[in-house]
């Protein structure tokens, strides 16, 4: 049987710490239509330091898979217009990033703003809102 070498060459994975925040444009779009394209476009998004992206070989607007111990989603990567702290990614509060948050709490407050995950380039399409429900 011929060995499919490509199958074993995985795109490199990098550790990343995700910080969540709010955004008025996304909040307004999702208030209007939670299932709309605009809400998804502004939510399924991770912003990274441009130099870091280069180092990781991730192009602006490329799809990336984010995986934590609790879940995995494909979102779009965008370069931050300013310099960001290294090893960090920023995501707007949304069901997409919430798939990555741990269920372990001692005080009833999940670690929404301190998410350890791995990031890797993905050939898959962005996880749709309907798919999130099936996860």
């Amino acid at each position: 049987m011929a060995l499919d070498v490509g199958k074993f060459i995985k795109a490199p994975e990098y550790d990343i710490k995700i910080i969540t925040h709010r955004d008025v444009f996304q909040a307004s779009a999702c208030e209007e239509d939670r299932f709309g394209d605009e809400c998804q476009e502004m939510s399924a998004l991770i912003v990274l330091d441009a130099a870091e992206m280069k180092r990781m070989g991730i192009q602006d607007r490329a799809n990336v898979r984010l995986t934590s111990n609790w879940g995995s989603v494909v979102v779009r990567a965008r370069a931050s217009p300013r310099e960001e702290q290294k090893g960090m990614g920023f995501m707007v509060n949304s069901p997409w990033v919430n798939t990555l948050v741990s269920d372990e709490t001692t005080d009833g407050i999940p670690a929404f703003k301190d998410i350890e995950a791995k990031i890797t380039i993905s050939k898959n399409g962005i996880t749709g809102i309907q798919e999130l429900l099936l996860l």
């Binding site: 710490k17 910080i19 925040h21 709010r22 955004d23 008025v24 444009f25 909040a27 307004s28 779009a29 208030e31 209007e32 239509d33 939670r34 299932f35 709309g36 609790w70 879940g71 300013r82 960001e84 702290q85 960090m88 920023f90 509060n93 949304s94 069901p95 919430n98 798939t99 948050v101 741990s102 269920d103 709490t105 001692t106 005080d107 009833g108 407050i109 999940p110 670690a111 929404f112 703003k113 301190d114 809102i129 999130l132 429900l133 996860l135």
Partner: protein
């Protein structure tokens, strides 16, 4: 086009509850809204997909949905009533009564948000003030782990930085200093320019201790790279403040929640040298109202269980713990837990009987066993709410709805269970 006389409205888009909005109505529809930000505009125009009454995802009349909800809750041994931050105080009070009737747990989104801060303010451990005082008097404002430009868009323009106040007549550039402490240069940080202090994630506690050292005239020490001179300069600015305010965001609260007493210590140290208040950046329009209303009834602000011996409170009654292990039926009012809670926790909602009361279809309605639509608070339904600084505000409806209010839905369920 004939001009309509506008109605003055209090916006329920966020807990700033801006009371100066002008809404033009024609044929019971919103035609134009003035002075509201984009978020408020989205709120006033409402959602595109409204909820419909369903049982097992099939459309039914609202009475059947209410009866089914009552049956589920009555059968449950350990029901949880959750949400409430997007409801008027009147609906919240009805919810608390229903929890009492059922012997249920009741909790709100404040459980994993600003509840911890609001609790300390309500018991007097942290000094606070009103937004009007901020506008009239504040000369130093700190946005700590908070980005109001993204979460409460009119915060700076209406109260905390730009307006002229009684004691701040010369405008923001001369009369006020805005400071931002955060992990990234947020939109708010941008406005604070050189007074933006960039700290590493989780670095808040250390920064706070360093600032206390600076205030007390000691040389601050930090484990991460930070120019100590800037901390000393900041301490000097804080010392000179006549009326200072800290707006505590979730960035700060989450970062130091394990040693929350540090905020108390920081505030008392700060107030040995200066005059500072703290205001929590509650998000949903009536998050704080739930805390006040529950406190009035039970002495606790959230995470309550009604037992035979009266109400008890504890982390085990929090929405997160109850969803992980505990609740065997859930009533959600005005929230979308499948979207806003960690999926690792919210997933369990698919396995237990779930009732949702909401004006809009959302992620949770897609898995709910029973959905009951209600009028949107502040749009079709009036009442009262508590602003993020604790001030009680009147909310009047602007259009006539044809459905029940969330308060009425809860009361109808109550009639059927008792």
């Amino acid at each position: 086009m004939e001009m309509t006389e506008p109605i003055t409205w209090t916006c329920t888009g966020c807990a700033l509850l801006c009371e100066d909005i002008q809404v033009h109505i024609k044929d019971n529809k919103v035609e134009k809204v003035e002075h509201a930000c984009l978020k408020g505009k989205a709120r006033v125009y409402g959602c595109k997909h409204t909820a419909i009454s369903t049982v097992d995802q099939a459309e039914v009349d609202i009475n059947s949905a209410i009866s089914q909800a009552a049956e589920i809750l009555e059968k449950a041994k350990n029901p949880l009533l959750y949400g409430w931050s997007n409801s008027t105080s009147e609906a919240q009070v009805a919810g608390i009564e229903l929890a009492q009737t059922l012997g249920a747990c009741i909790d709100s989104t404040s459980s994993f948000c600003q509840g911890i801060t609001i609790n300390e303010i309500m018991n007097g451990s942290i000094p606070s003030c009103t937004l009007e005082e901020v506008r009239e008097k504040a000369d130093v404002v700190i946005y700590w782990g908070a980005d109001p430009m993204s979460s409460h868009p009119r915060h700076l323009s209406k109260y905390s930085y730009f307006p002229r106040g009684e004691l701040r007549q010369r405008g923001y550039e001369e009369d006020r200093t805005a400071i931002c402490i955060d992990v990234t240069q947020s939109r708010t940080a941008k406005i604070c320019k050189a007074m933006f202090f960039s700290i590493p994630p989780g670095g808040d506690a250390e920064f706070m201790r360093a600032l206390m050292d600076g205030l007390a005239g000691r040389v601050p020490k930090l484990s991460y790279d930070f120019d100590v001179k800037r901390i000393l300069e900041l301490a000097a600015v804080l010392k000179k403040a006549e009326f200072g305010v800290i707006f505590a965001g979730l960035g700060l609260v989450y970062s130091i929640k394990e040693e929350f007493d540090l905020i108390l210590e920081f505030m008392s140290t700060l107030n040995r040298f200066s005059n500072f208040s703290l205001i929590p950046m509650a998000g949903h329009f009536n998050m704080r109202g739930f805390n006040h209303n529950l406190h009035e009834k039970t002495g606790f602000i959230h995470r309550v269980r009604f037992t035979k011996n009266g109400p008890v409170s504890g982390v085990e009654y929090s929405v997160v713990e109850q969803l992980k292990h505990g609740a065997d039926a859930v009533l959600v009012v005005g929230s979308d837990p499948l979207a806003s809670l960690p999926l690792s926790i919210a997933r369990r909602l698919k396995d237990i009987p779930l009732i949702l009361v909401d004006p809009c279809a959302n992620l949770t309605t897609r898995v709910a066993d029973v959905t009951i639509p209600c009028g949107a608070s502040g749009i079709e339904v009036g009442g009262t709410a508590v602003r993020l600084d604790g001030k009680k505000m009147d909310i009047s409806p602007i259009v006539q709805g044809d459905g029940l209010s969330d308060e009425m839905v809860v009361r109808r369920i109550m009639e059927e269970v008792s």
